[in-house]
Amino acid sequence: MSSSKGRLPLEHLRAVVLTQAWAGTYTTRLLADMGAEVIQIEALDRPDPWRGGYPPRLSGTYPDNIPGERPFDRNAAYNSVNTGKRAITLDFNHQEAKDMFLDLVGISDIIAENFSARVMPNFGMGYDVLSEVNPSIVMLRMPSYGCTGPYSAYMGNGGTTEPMSGIASALGYPEGPPMNSGFMHTDPYAGYVACGAILIALHHRARTGSGQVVDLSQQETSIGLMVEHVMEYSMSGKVPTRNANADPSMSPHGNYPCDGEDSWVAISIRNDEEWMRLCQILGQPRMADEPNYATADGRVKNASALDAIVAQWTSTQTADSVTELLQAQGIPASPVMKARELLGHPHLEERGFFQELDHPDTGRQTYAGVAWRLSKTPGRLLGPSPRLGQHSAEVLQELLGVPSSHVQRLVDAGITGDTPNLND
């Protein structure tokens, strides 16, 4: 467990963020993992949709499947990507809330938001306004389609980014239609890239003192996952086809059925040498001499015949035993792991990847840990994800010097607080 105290690489930085859902909140969680103080702002009448809504419109995953009194504090989606942040609520329809936000901007290093491009300027809080308040501020803007261009006013999410980036057109079975992954996985990749953009801007600021604004389009970061297809088309005019797990230069290459309920093993044969070793393991050493299969080209051409041979063998074995047999011969293989099988996986356990956190509304839960490890200042999940508005009073009082009596007036006026506005 990487829960020991110690210096963290970004503990000298403060971010005030309006990020919501996944891509943006993951970006700013990565900053928090590395020690940055991250203050997450929500509106009481429009909490982060990843909180899963509130009765009667619930759409979350709750401990023991019980939404509880504050379901918006118990949802796995929100709680997985807001760890270690402080959450405050402010209603920007009030000038006083905007003024307090600008005061926070004045004492922060980073602003991040992932609304569609028109939202922040419409609030009168574009980069021109914010940089006037704090010229050294680094601002990340990451709408689905970026800040300029004809689609920039359109809303999007992973469900639209996957098709709009070419990814959906390449995902699917050979004879079937295109598909979306179903879990909007382009979001966290955009989050990785966006976090990198912030860190580059900070590195530049450390040298020059000046901040800047980053315009990141999630459509474009996602196209970055399709480079090989883009280049192939531009050079050969070939539009890639959906081909399940097949690879243009490796075969066998796929997820093969194993003994067990919905159990599969992934196997990649990268070269002729690995092919010969696989033939031995399959108990068919003479197949290594078969000229049709001797080269990668030949194996790719005959991929379906080879897949059938491999599947016939794997279906009599467990995924773990196939993995051990193949890896002992230096061949890439892994069970196709179910989410709950990851917990307790001996390799991840020994590396201390998972981290347990206590949350007032969900109890003790195990979380996926940090994505990279620094030897001297390792990051960690700093704490559980905040409850809605949990830190409103403390942030306004401690950082902005708002007297507690006035905080109460702000709560009474519905500008801040910790209870969502259910009138929607």
């Binding site: 970004l10 930085l13 709750y62 796995a76 989606a77 997985s80 300029t148 999007g156 999410n157 469900g159 996957e162 990814i167 995902l171 239609p177 598909m179 992954s181 179903g182 966290p188 976090c195 953009a197 860190l199 580059i200 900070l202 590195h203 530049h204 800047q212 980053v214 315009d215 990141l216 459509q219 474009e220 196209i223 970055g224 996952l225 090989e228 297809h229 883009v230 088309y233 531009s234 539009v239 890639p240 797990n245 599969w264 093993v265 992934a266 196709v336 179910k338 989410a339 709950r340 917990l343 001996p346 991840l348 020994e350 590396r351 969900t362 195990t366 979380y367 840990g369 990279w372 620094l374």
Partner: protein
Amino acid sequence: MFLYLNGGKKPVTLDMDTEQGRTLFTELVESADLVVESFSPGYMDGLRLGYGDLEKLNSGVILVSLTPFGQTGPWAAYQATDLTINAASGISYVTGYPDREPLKEPGHETDYQTGAAAFLGAMTALAYRDVSGIGQHVDVSAQEAALSTFSPQFLGAMHSGSSPTRGSARLMPCKDGYVSLNVRHDATWEYMWLFFEEPEMIDDERFATAPDRRRNIVALEDLLEPRLARYTMEELFHGLAPLRILVGMVLEIDRLLIDPHLQERGFFVDQTDPELGKMTMPGAPFLMSDTPWQEGHISLDIGSDNREVYCGLLGHDDAELGRWKEQGIV
């Protein structure tokens, strides 16, 4: 791909198994901010060039190591490809149809995730060095970089007690392709029927609330299919998106390259290689207002910058370089 992945770099060659090669490498380390490597765990230590050795040469240097499963643990020596990392991170199991084999994501997604995590490891280590002067070793595991992107699904499985199953999302066919369409919210449900000019459908009791629409998804898709078939992707996208409906066109690569939005943003760049001709590739991953992206030169010639680096940067002379070439060191 080599050209895209190596744009803007200075290619040099070096045989690090020779004593002279090792010395040249240590000279480079002394002048470097970052050292990035993706050898098997222990290989750099075996050359006496592990982080402990590099730190003695340059206390501020940051060593970034990328491997499939990290530097430690029982799987540290295991081999991997993008396919097997998709499997080992939980991603494949949920991708595809329930009655078919699990799918990996297209392309080499986990390789890019790993590269991005290493980039972040380097940048966070640099941010710490900016304030402390101290370098360190960054250990990046492809399995962990991919699994971290799966953290909402992982925590969901911890909460609910069961693993999510395969449930890739069906896309809706239309006149000339497919669209993704999300009309769960009541307002977007209404707008959609106004777009189809059938306002009476708004009150169809089978689909009165978002949970009803989720529950009766098959009936809903049957209802929508003939209507969507009347429109092209473009007509649906530009008709529905301004109504705040989440709609996406399933763009094939050829269509992507001529997308007017991406063209106006200048996203794709063309480069010409003397041997391979003109090729198109993604440009800047993000746009920075003060420090614009620098388009890298491309070169297929390994070692083409030997002279610039060994003579220009490290101050050796041409005679030495000539000797090292003869000895096969560079």
